[in-house]
Amino acid sequence: MKVPFTWLKDFTPVTLKLSELMWKMTEIGITTESCKKINGEVVLDAEVTPNRPDWLSIFGIAREVAVLHGSSAKLPKYVEIPSPTGNLPIKIKVDSGLSGRYVGVTIEGISAKPSPAWMQKRLKLVSLRPINNLVDITNYVMLELGVPIHVFDYDKFLSNNLSMKLSKGGEKFTSVDGLSYALPKNCIIIEDENRVIDLCGIKGGDNTGISNSTKNIFIHVPIYNPVLIRKTSQRLKISSDASYIYERGANEGGALDSLKRVVELTLKLAGGKVASEVIDTRNQGDYKPKELTVSISRIKDILEIDIENKQIINILKQLNLSPTLSAGRIICLIPSYRSDLNIEEDLIEEVARIYGYNNFPKTLPRGSVATEKLPYYYDRNFEIKLKNIMQGVGYYETNTLALTSKVTIKKSQLNLDNHVKIANPVSLEYEYMRTSIIPRLLEAIKINSDEERLQLFEYNKIYFGPLDKSKEPYMLSAIIKGGKYIDIKGVVDTLLEKLQIGKFNMKPTAAKKGLWHPKKSGVIEMKKDILGTVGELSPLVLQNFDIKEKLFALELDVYTLSKHSRSATFHTPAKYPAQIEDLSLVIPKGVGIGKLISSIKSVSRLISNVELVDTYKDSYTFRVWYQNPRKTLTDKDVKNIRSKILKRIKVLFGVKYKV
């Protein structure tokens, strides 16, 4: 809402400095962060929130600015509409479901000419183009008082029996802007003789528009159903200053006053005489202010300020809410333009905002802490634990976007049908919710093309459709460039060790489509659960992303990880030293080293550890720790166990021992 400073001052004196005024207006709810100087005049740019349609007018803002100065704004004087001396009859059928109040009157014998310089100047300050006195007056009064007005060329009516109705769909309409439409269903329209002369609330019709030769006019000030106006505006993708006001709720109680003001200015600036009775589908008496009560103790309990009753009453009085004190309660009379004041809390806000939020003391809540876990409880400690482990093994945390594109999904060889889709994406780059974090990590590899070695991880949600049964599990994903399989497997081993997750199985992923290399990546199984996938990424996918290096990655399901993680159990370190020896073995192809090591360990409880310490061609050197917690093992003991090891691995894996 653009507010020229001088126009504001018509209604209220302003003594605050400009910058202070702007902040104080923001403080009470009219966010005014900028202003411009246009033709030497200051024009404020005020942001009006949807709950205060009464601020969509210069006078509405002036009312608040007056309160900032501790006074009330000067009401514009409304001149009664003279009784008709001309004869331009007009009738209109109005449906109250379409228009809550409808007022109008005809004027005979006007002269259309440019509006006076002061009016043109003001219109230009708010970026409206002056057209002629009649149209300009309707815009001027709409800006001043906040109720939209339209004026028709009476002589262009095909009949003076108008009807307001809902469009059936298909009706032709050309607006005063010269744009033609075929109207959809359920737009509010006014017709004479079966043609549309007004797209109500949005634009007037070209066929009845004002021109320089107009002599007789019909002025109407309708208040329309906000929802219908909004729907039409959205469907046709047209909006106007008028539709903007109607969507938020124009003031029915002010319709007649606006008409009076328009008529007054029209008679003064365009001449003519009133030519009909004033049409009014309601009584002004219907808009008497409504009572709303607030208890003083409630104000004080919630606001906790040391405010005297006198001050509360004063604030409400300045806001034109006519407060009276009665037995600890304040009874206010809410004028029709304050459609936002409906419950006690609304009045409490009025007191608080005018008292000034920055004048309040600050306290901390007194209540107790809930000891039961709330619904949707989230254990962030596990998240931090995982992130710390990843940081500890030298990975950099990324935080990438959840939305992705069809192109990326296809490049990743993922199934488009699993993805939840946005109906109105901002661009095709952000159309689907991702089902894996890995594609973004691939993009990260490309962004950091200068790095020879790159280790990235991310902890975030992925999303699975269909929408009826959508799931949003948290995943821990990581990628490494410049490494080998044992590097990414090492991360998995570290994680599972730190989380005290026990034995697990690996099965090849085997899928020919998808992100993973079917033979060089595997699914990690733990009891009946799948922890995730680890291994080399599919060379086809890498080709699609134009990445030349081999990449290894992991993607683990956080919930499953946490389900299987345990607390550490302490084991006393052995008092007696271990016997350590290295065994060099030739391992035939196809024997899983991990399985071999597990096998060796299971030979005896006196084997406390087995590690692979060296490899050369097909020869693998394993270091074996022999240890008895209760005594030092003798060479004979060790020899015994060793021969059991060699026997077992020969039987199971066909491994021969080279002496």
């Binding site: 939020y357 809930a370 709330l374 949707y376 889709k421 946005i422």
Partner: protein, 344 residues
């Protein structure tokens, strides 16, 4: 006696000076200072000396003992001089080898800080769906259908074709406030809840706007919650995050789910209020919209507004991160460039 002590001392010092290695030195130490050493013999003989002379002789013996000990220590150092001297120059300034360190994302770090502040205030962390229903995202929060209040949150909608939902019924949540309805429907007060999470809006992407951004939602319901509790909580949180010198001010604003509604502004930490690109030249940054929970929201979730009330707020996490580290482009927060990630 005194002469004897003097002789022992001189003899010891001379031999120590001549010692060629540590084991020789150790032998000397034992022979003089050991349990049966020459100095110890003197101490044993002290009892036989006349009382008037005992003190003086004792002092002499102690002096001798100390001199011998010092001589041994210094000789040790001299013998080790080989080890303690340098043949070549040693470079203390050599860059250290940093073991492969990883980095946590700046947002993770700031979020941890924020959640710790709230843990201190007694809040529990909750997490909920980003794929949300219109009901929880808008309706239960007092945004009527077809009302301009919804325009302030430019909403994207999910494609519902082939599902049981009507168009417009499912949305990527536009704010974490969607969790208010979910939690409040399923639990009884009193409670304090904090919800960090990703939100989505239909925006043209630029340096200060993104389609995806992070919020931290908080809300509490209890008996007799005061407006001043809300102001105090906001001040406490912002000062904990930005320092006790942080300047804060409040302005009235409107959200359908709170009444009174307000916005908390933080004086721009980048330009100290002078005006810069971070604060759109105003010197202040909007950082925490908040308000007292609207009674109709409480009613809709089955909480009696006559017995209970509360407040709610949202912290723009993405904005806090950019202010904290003086990052001038929101897009940096989701760009996985290691030159960025390494800085935190």
């Amino acid at each position: 006696m005194q002469e004897k002590i003097q002789n022992i001392k001189n003899e010891a010092l001379a031999q120590i000076m001549e010692a060629k290695n540590r084991s020789e030195l150790e032998k000397l130490r034992i022979s003089y200072l050991g349990r049966n050493g020459k100095v110890q013999e003197i101490f044993k003989k002290l009892k036989k000396i006349k009382i008037e002379e005992r003190k003086h002789v004792g002092n002499l013996a102690n002096g001798a003992k100390k001199a011998i000990e010092n001589a041994i220590d210094e000789k040790k150092i001299e013998l080790a001089s080989d080890l303690l001297n340098l043949k070549e120059w040693f470079d203390l300034s050599m860059p250290g080898k940093k073991n492969g360190i990883g980095y946590l994302h700046p947002q993770t770090q700031v979020l941890t800080e924020i959640l710790d502040i709230f843990k201190y205030l007694g809040y529990q962390v909750a997490d909920g769906p980003e794929i949300e229903t219109d009901y929880y995202n808008f309706e239960i929060l007092n945004f009527p259908k077809d009302h301009p209040a919804r325009d302030a949150q430019q909403t994207m909608f999910f494609d519902t074709s082939g599902t049981k939902y009507k168009p417009g019924e499912m949305v990527p949540r536009t704010h974490t406030s969607s969790m208010q309805g979910r939690v409040m429907e399923r639990t009884k007060p009193p409670f304090k809840v904090i919800v960090p999470g990703r939100c989505f809006r239909y925006e043209q992407v630029d340096a200060s706007h993104g389609i995806e951004f992070w919020h931290v939602e908080g809300f509490t319901v209890d008996k007799n919650v005061r407006f001043t509790d809300l102001l105090g909580t906001i001040e406490y949180v912002l000062k904990s995050l930005f320092g006790s010198d942080a300047k804060i001010r409040f302005a009235t604003t409107y959200f359908p789910f709170v009444e009174p509604g307000l916005d908390a502004y933080l004086q721009c930490t980048v330009c100290s209020g002078k005006g810069c690109t971070f604060c759109k030249r105003t010197g202040w940054s909007e950082i925490m919209p908040a308000g007292m929970i609207h009674p109709s929201v409480l009613k809709k979730t089955g909480i009696d507004p006559n017995k209970w009330n509360g407040f709610a707020f949202a912290i723009g996490l993405s904005r806090v991160v950019t202010l904290r580290y003086k990052i001038d482009d929101l897009r940096i927060l989701h760009t996985p460039d290691v030159r960025i990630l390494k800085q935190f």
